[in-house]
Symmetry: C2
Subunit: 360 residues, 2 copies
Amino acid sequence: MTDPFEGRSVLVVGTGLVGTSLGLALTRAGVDVRLADAKPEILAEAVGLGAGRPEPEAGGPAALAVVAVPPEAVAAVVGEVLQSGRAEYATDVASVKMLPTAQVRERVADPGRYVGSHPMAGREISGPGAALADLFEGRPWVICPDDGTHQQAVTRALAVARLVGAAPMTMTAAEHDAAVALVSHTPHVVAALMAGRLAGAPGHEVRLAGPGVTDVTRIASGDPELWTEILTANAAAVRPVLEGLRGDLDRLMAALETPVAGQPVLRELLRGGVDGRSRLPGKHGTAHTEFATVIVAVDDRPGQLARLFADAGAAGVNVEDVRIEHAAGQALGLVELDVRPGTEQELAASLRERGWTIRG
Amino acid sequence: MTDPFEGRSVLVVGTGLVGTSLGLALTRAGVDVRLADAKPEILAEAVGLGAGRPEPEAGGPAALAVVAVPPEAVAAVVGEVLQSGRAEYATDVASVKMLPTAQVRERVADPGRYVGSHPMAGREISGPGAALADLFEGRPWVICPDDGTHQQAVTRALAVARLVGAAPMTMTAAEHDAAVALVSHTPHVVAALMAGRLAGAPGHEVRLAGPGVTDVTRIASGDPELWTEILTANAAAVRPVLEGLRGDLDRLMAALETPVAGQPVLRELLRGGVDGRSRLPGKHGTAHTEFATVIVAVDDRPGQLARLFADAGAAGVNVEDVRIEHAAGQALGLVELDVRPGTEQELAASLRERGWTIRG
């Protein structure tokens, strides 16, 4: 198989979480990785972790530079790297694509040597010490070529994506920004605003909270600084999604003013929610409709989960997936075991014989 | 211990999911349960499941009636049950409290013999066949006495709550409705409106969806008919919560019009979300901060989970909780094992020795 890098190295500029993880993954895949970072101690840490070697002072250009810096810094770094001959082609990892792409087009002499990338992977902790070689395994890696993009830039970015185990997909920068506005940025806004309503609420109200509001607000714990930057960078794409949502909110609130007369509008909006949700995988979405679920009550005695799985194994039924739901503050839980349809009765009967309490 | 029911029965009127579950739980606790339902076949099914005996034609009053009917029907049934002498006191199970309480006060001759209850438990499927004796285990059971409520009504409702394993708490009907508006009804609206934005979205946008939007929209799958009724019944308490949320949404959208200048407002709203979220238990909330997490990569070969738990058990480390995250559409998953802080290194080392890939 032809070496997409033609025997040359890949240069990673910026050795934070993503850059260092890329270095680790590419090194593991046998690529010669060179590293650079504005901060010597950060660079040293990444080198020490095995993410690659320091970029040499001299020598030929890298086949590709992956510029792992914040969105607003991408164009300047890409320009410098290409114009100084540190790399033949360049890509980035920023979570918005129109901003860096437009700035590269304006400021860089040969913008076709750049193609935007967005590996959709991350962790809540940052820095080189948090880096993982398998950070990108199975995650989408979006690549956004435009009419002027050189084919080699795309070929090499695709090669990086595949080598680190990601799932590449191409779309325009505008399509990308609209997509992440819908499925990542607006949900974050919505979760944060719902969670904001809890901040000053009386204790007796919060005490009634169950798994529902916990799910809705989970991502509201994300770093406010990071998300301020993300929403600022993608404001133009987020605004229309929020406008649509606010329009629906206005209609729902008007319907609640005359609750009985408003029921058809309520029903329509709630049905729209069911339809929209069914497009995603998850507990009641497409990914799980292929399984049957056996629900087992567990208490908090040590080793219960291990015994449960051992007993399920002894029953000869393969457990495909599992979820545990805890009653808040209680020493009880329900373990939901997903199995192939047709095997659930057998598993339930076998577990009952071994003393487990099966629900439903 | 004094029998709170003084040797008499508890009458359950309405043998759907909640009524039949109550019957099963109270019967298991040794209470003489009598059942009634407008539909003979539904009553017969509940009796057949062991939830109690049919209400006799004659005989003395039950100590307490639990009226398990929809909110708008509560007052009429409570009135009839008390006035005809079928029970000495009555409570209900409706998920709103101001409406039935006000209607009972207006229409029933001795309204102090009624106290409102809301056992916060349920299932997505309904009907007597879905009933479970442990439906209420560890769940909140809210009781809403007012100035005129007879103490015996409260004593007997509390006794039911405790006998079925629920966690009783008292508050006013107004406090209850405001509480569920905040922690249950508004989150449902928010999830449904976010999910509604996905309904017509292009495939390439939805394909980038990850666990975040899946969590935010999970409860949007709930029954639109049921939720239309709930939101209608609690419209007065839900409106102010939505007004607060819309105010914050307006501020956020205005900030996005001038993204850089708007950053302080964005930051403030996002921080409010972090603060609000921290008041709930969950993945990064109070309930889990006491555990350390070991993250293990698994693929989809049969028996992986059973082997993982067996190996964890062999390591002598108790697994307290587990979550599985799947990369959408990929045959890979990350299993997060919660263990007591201080035991995670030992578990990780032991699992690595047995060939598992540990992340982070």
